[in-house]
Symmetry: C2
Subunit: 456 residues, 2 copies
């Protein structure tokens, strides 16, 4: 058997590795719409908040304990903690923290969580080299664009096969963003993309374990190291993404190159980023949203006799657990989501702790919910009829759940979500200051002051 | 779209992640044949030699320069160099060095290069924690067994699809070996395998670039970190290898579980390891071998009128370059291989430098070689008829090239290969002492003295 055959590059595919490298290295700073720029700030704010929220999770403790055995150098901060790590390791840990609560952002077309792989790498490098806020935003926009365009190229086949696309496309976005931040030229950026292309990270079987959150973290780390290696002359194939035996064809049967090349530099995928208001899979969001609207009308759990909940069939397939026994199971229960929305008006981590899940009031309300799959209901919609004691009925129809592209969380919603994560970790005072710093990121001469506010 | 569906584990597959974890954690030390034990020592010796040979390569320089930016802690040595790195980074660099000359070992059934991913991780950990030679050998045998059994399960589909199997199965062997060396229990070992299962590394498009050698290095590093994370409580799926949306089904259409479970603990794949005598793809080895035999009969290039070389069709497909212009191209030229064997009696790095490749004598002899694809010739065989000036003919038939399982390199051959790599880096004196230390590895109380001899 041959161990070293030379593989001819595939001639059908456009040279997307080079095209992306040129784009990342050369696209002018801030040359995109105000809407894309504002979405970049929202992406960053939401990511910082999620990382603070996850900072004390046991998965983060375990990862930091492992890195302590490697005596990692204190180059970059872990958000919401006092430890520091080398840039690559900090990227890993912040990536884990920002995803471990399943509460981060979503690029809906690809179900990529864009910020974790990209922002985690960028902030670590930025802190160490003293990059400006403007440079970080530029690298974030471009890195997310590469990541989501790769995702658009290979989704859905890639995801359907079992890859956790956030890590298995994200490492390319991370490498792109880190290359931009390190000011690599076009050629070195192509090498960084190539090195990253050999490292798709994450299989969906890990869902429900710490390793799910490892995926965006490891993608971020791969991006940091790929950029540093390319900067120092390490070589890779300049057709690593598109070649016959390159990344895209190996990890997917679908490869639509026009998704990478189309409107490159004029349409920015970060403009389509969305944020979760609730700490569970987004198929449950319409039901929680409807319940919270009923709560706002003054309806109380004790008054409810029966809830008829019409949902898209996928909702019951994925989250049909009627009697969840703990917080983790409750994340896969649309019944619990409705109960949380009506009783608490929220579905944050507090509504997914075991005590809340097992409380009498919640158990009783869950049991009154009758969910029906209905193909006429869209994935981000629901139709709810509530029968109250005495026979009175209330009705709510949600066409687009809060957090969808059509009904995005407002900036104030995002700030409230941020506060809920950050205040218990760094205190109310620093939380307000940190929110202000995130919105003003573009003006920051360097990011160190912002990062200092995220330290407990 | 759902971002967090729970995927049911596939019920058809045996629980191979757990089976392998139990095997790795519990199989008694040195419970295998003397032949397997001796092959482990040969595997180790050959790997140390290859790492020394590659230690000064520009790919290693570039990787170390990148790691210097991370201020990696000096926990473990880089063979043949004065730098030290943290355990994970040392694993990465030694893995790169040992593969960068394409001269390392081969498990012929899977074309995995077994030592790079496994030994690179083990030596780094062993040096830092002070493990004994016995413990290193045990972990090497078990790690290689896991890696090659995984390879047997998914080869050839996995490789044909474009994965560089050394990195994309090797990270599981690395995790297994590191888990054993760290004395993880069965449960933690399963978690280490699970974390590694999310990180297949390497696409074949990288062949011809530094990133090819990055693959075993990154696999080694993934194994070190997976084991450390599992040791510290990081969780993964205990069915990460075999589940429906787990590693094996995602990276291959073929999954023959009996290759993992069959004779587990009685047949050891390390016993089937082979070593390359020549610095090129092994399909060229029969031609070089035949040429060297002709040289030993006293035949000189100047006397040759014509060479008729019958080879397996794959040889010309992969290495049919008739007029290579430099050393890298020459690695894909069976014509050059024959010329090197006849003129130099060897095909080491010296016969693949640009000057040798372009020398008049070599160019002239290459042009006299007429290679013909012949389906009746096996991949590791060749049939050569040489026509000399005056019309005399010489004939050689090689049934199994030197370095094949049927005609392995002797221990003395391996020592000579080692010397050629090591002496220019660490000197003749240390080279002899290091060879002796490798053969006596089982008796070493710790590996530090051996490693010290590999320091320039």
């Amino acid at each position: 058997m041959a161990t070293n055959p030379r593989v001819a590059a595939d001639q059908d595919a456009p040279p997307v590795t080079q095209l992306l490298a040129s784009f990342v290295a050369k696209h002018p700073s801030r040359k995109w719409s105000d809407a894309a720029e504002h979405e970049a700030l929202r992406t960053f704010l939401n990511w910082v908040g999620c990382a603070l929220g996850g900072a004390r999770h046991e998965a983060v403790d375990a990862a930091l304990a492992a890195l302590a055995e490697l005596e990692s150098a204190p180059q970059a901060s872990i958000l919401g903690r006092t430890e520091k790590c080398d840039m690559a390791s900090a990227a890993l840990v912040n990536g884990i923290a920002s995803h471990v609560l399943d509460f981060d952002d979503t690029h809906l077309r690809t179900v990529i969580h864009p910020a974790g792989p990209v922002a985690s790498g960028l902030l670590a490098i930025a802190e160490h080299i003293g990059a400006s806020g403007r440079e970080v935003i530029d690298a974030l926009v471009l890195g997310v664009d590469v990541e989501c365009r790769i995702g658009n190229c290979i989704y859905p086949d890639h995801y359907d096969r079992g890859w956790h696309i956030t890590g298995s496309a994200g490492m390319l976005g991370a490498a792109a963003g880190c290359a931009r931040l390190l000011k690599l030229d076009e050629k070195a950026t192509a090498m960084a993309l190539g090195i990253a292309a050999s490292q798709p990270i994450g299989v969906r079987e890990q869902f429900g374990t710490h390793t799910k959150s490892f995926h965006p973290g490891a993608a971020a780390r791969a991006g940091v190291l790929a950029a540093l290696m390319a900067k120092n002359g390490f070589t890779s194939s300049a057709r690593a993404i598109e070649a016959k035996r390159g990344y895209a064809r190996i990890v997917s049967t679908k490869t639509d190159w026009t998704e990478i090349t189309g409107e490159l530099g004029t349409r920015f995928e970060i403009a389509f980023n969305t944020y979760k208001p609730f700490a569970c899979g987004i198929v449950i969001h319409p039901a929680i949203d409807a319940a919270a609207q009923l709560r706002a009308r003054g309806i109380k759990a004790a008054d409810i006799e029966r809830v008829d909940l019409k949902v898209h069939p996928l909702v019951l397939e994925l989250t049909g657990k009627k009697e969840p026994q703990d917080g983790l199971q409750a994340k896969f229960s649309v019944y619990h989501g409705f109960a949380a929305g009506l009783i608490a008006g929220a579905a944050g981590e507090s509504q997914y702790d075991d005590a809340f899940v097992r409380s009498d009031e919640v158990v009783a309300l869950r049991r009154k919910v009758v969910a029906t799959a209905d193909k006429s209901i869209a994935e981000d919609a629901t139709d709810v009829a509530v029968t109250l004691a005495g026979g009175r009925k209330e009705h709510v129809r949600v066409e687009h759940a809060i957090g969808s592209l059509e009904r995005p969380m407002t900036d104030k919603d995002l700030e409230a979500k941020f506060r809920a994560f950050a205040a218990p970790v760094i205190g109310e005072g620093k939380t307000g200051a940190l929110i202000a710093s995130c919105w003003k990121l573009a003006e920051a001469k360097d990011v160190k002051a912002l990062i200092a506010k995220a330290r407990p």
